[in-house]
């Protein structure tokens, strides 16, 4: 049976609890799977305005500060009991155009690792990525699962404008820009998949815990 280190639980303010398991001995992804399951349990309790998972931690915003003491004492038990099996998530396939005008940095990434552009495309599109959490800007997903062979430092000179839908690598992570914004990641491709539409009833395509796969739509030279 997998054992988990005991979480650290702190009060941030009258209606806010911080649950931290980032010191866990498990891998980030293994721990995060349990964090998602705990987040879902908390969400379903109806006691919270917001339940926000981040990097192996969870922040809980209470509707009623009078429930603070209850949750402070109950969280540990829920953490021990929460079942990974009950967690529901969605798998997304993102058709991606790699290289060319859509991926101006793919040659740099290939060169950096002594790989061909095709190798980069194969490595990147063969992985299954987990949405660890969202943040930085609306709809931006922090993904785990990038092949170590593709870890590439960010650009020394960040771009002032990266087009919406750009698929990029920044250090040990890969990600997709939900909106056109400044950015320093290496752009390797582009997807038309709509990540974020503020006017839609549920504006964000991804939720924490979802899985993602990039499928090859086109490779341009």
């Amino acid at each position: 049976m997998t054992t988990y280190s005991s979480p650290s639980i702190t009060v941030l303010t009258t209606h806010c609890i911080y649950f931290d398991v980032s010191h866990s001995e498990q891998t980030i992804l293994e721990t995060q799977k349990k964090v998602w399951a705990l987040a879902q349990l908390c969400q379903q309790s109806g006691d919270f305005i917001d339940v926000v998972p981040a990097n192996n931690n969870l922040t809980l915003y209470l509707n009623d500060p009078l429930r603070l003491q209850y949750w402070l004492s109950a969280l540990n038990e829920h953490w021990l009991e929460v079942s990974l099996l009950k967690f529901n998530s969605t798998h997304h396939k993102l058709p991606t155009r790699y290289g060319g005008v859509h991926g101006p940095d793919i040659k740099h990434v290939a060169h950096y690792h002594n790989l061909s552009v095709d190798d980069v495309v194969q490595l990147h599109s063969s992985g299954t990525y987990h949405v660890l959490f969202l943040g930085f800007q609306p709809g931006f997903a922090y993904l785990s699962g990038l092949d170590k062979k593709l870890y590439t430092p960010r650009r020394s000179d960040p771009r002032t404008s990266v087009p919406k839908g750009s698929v990029a690598i920044g250090g040990e992570q890969t990600g997709i820009y939900p909106e056109t914004s400044p950015g320093g990641w290496q752009i390797i491709g582009h997807t038309d998949f709509k990540l974020f539409d503020i006017n839609a009833p549920s504006p964000c395509a991804f939720a924490p815990g979802d899985t993602i796969e990039f499928t090859i739509k086109e490779v341009l030279s």
Binding site: V51, V52, A54, G135, P138, N199, C204
Partner: protein
């Protein structure tokens, strides 16, 4: 309808902001001083969460194409209607064609304008009309208001006019509840944080109040896993100059937290302008709860008083 003739430094449509989507990276937005918003809305007979205009620094001008009840609250911008002075905290009856002018704020930074009636705005986003100036959505067009922008407001005259209501006093003494990283930061840093006064730096905005001090910096080399942040979170970047996150802040961050501004004191950041000094004090959770109860009872008393006046 009302038309923005001059928006001044920044004028935006805000209500109490959006909740329930922080896990998708969508922040809160909303009035930095929600109490000013609620009080001026009540003075004109609007529901508490009706949108208002948040006006920063002043030097603004608005033209009214209808008869309206209006009330300003927040800092005094020496407002006039057709040249006649009007006071913050009082409701007025404005005639069609009248022009409201706001001069520069001298002792504060933000003023809130409530206009009695139904605001005909684009469909609210995730339950709120607030403009998210960072992510660029909400309000009229996702941005601060420009000269010539018009807002369609169907007037309603549902309350007695000429009534006044005080705002709880402002302060530069900010109470803070301890953060989750107090054991990682040195005791010396935490002492310095509360023993020195800080000033608001010019690069501050609705995302955050950036602080600096001539006397001290709290440099560190800590790198932490990202965690959720919210309005009131006091981030400490490696430069050692703290940032108090405000309503348009992002939802996650990786800097250590010095603490969280207690909910009751967050409103003070509406009136702190670049160059203003402030200082911090760590308080107990109990004090944070009591401060919040005090504000809630202030609003409850106002509600009773207004109901009584309206029956007279």
């Amino acid at each position: 309808m009302i038309t923005v003739v001059k928006p001044g430094m920044q004028m935006s449509i805000q209500d109490q902001g959006r909740t329930g989507s922080r896990h998708l990276g969508i922040g809160q937005s909303g009035c930095i001083d929600p109490y000013a918003q609620i009080i001026c809305n009540r003075l004109v007979g609007n529901p508490d969460n009706c949108p208002v205009l948040e006006i920063t620094l002043g030097l603004a001008e608005i033209k009214f194409d209808n008869d309206y009840y209006i009330a300003l609250h927040g800092t005094d911008m020496k407002a006039t209607v057709n040249g006649n002075p009007i006071q913050p905290g009082w409701s007025y009856y404005i005639k069609k064609g009248d022009v409201l002018k706001l001069n520069a704020a001298r002792h504060g930074f933000r003023s809130y304008l409530a206009i009695g009636g139904i605001w005909q705005l684009p469909t609210p986003i995730l339950g709120s009309y607030s403009t998210d100036l960072t992510a660029k959505f909400g309000g009229l067009h996702g941005n601060a208001l420009n000269p010539g922008d018009s807002i369609d407001i169907t007037p309603q005259y549902k309350t007695k006019i000429g009534l006044g209501a005080m705002l709880p006093p402002k302060s530069t003494h900010i109470r803070v509840y301890e953060g989750p990283h107090n054991k990682l930061l040195s005791k010396q840093s935490l002492d310095k944080f509360t023993n020195h006064s800080w000033h608001i730096s010019p690069s501050s905005n609705r995302m955050g109040a950036r602080l600096s001090s001539d006397e001290c910096k709290l440099e560190h080399a800590l790198s932490l896993p990202s965690m959720a942040v919210m309005p009131g979170s006091i981030q400490l970047p490696p430069s050692g100059e703290p940032i108090v996150l405000l309503n348009d802040a992002q939802t996650t961050g990786g800097y250590p937290l010095l603490g969280t501004v207690i909910e009751a004191d967050l409103r003070h950041f509406a009136q702190l302008k670049p160059g203003d000094f402030l200082h911090f004090e760590f308080v107990s959770l109990n004090e944070a709860i009591k401060a919040q109860q005090k504000l809630t009872s202030h609003l409850n008393q106002l509600k009773i008083a207004l109901e009584y006046k309206n029956k007279q």
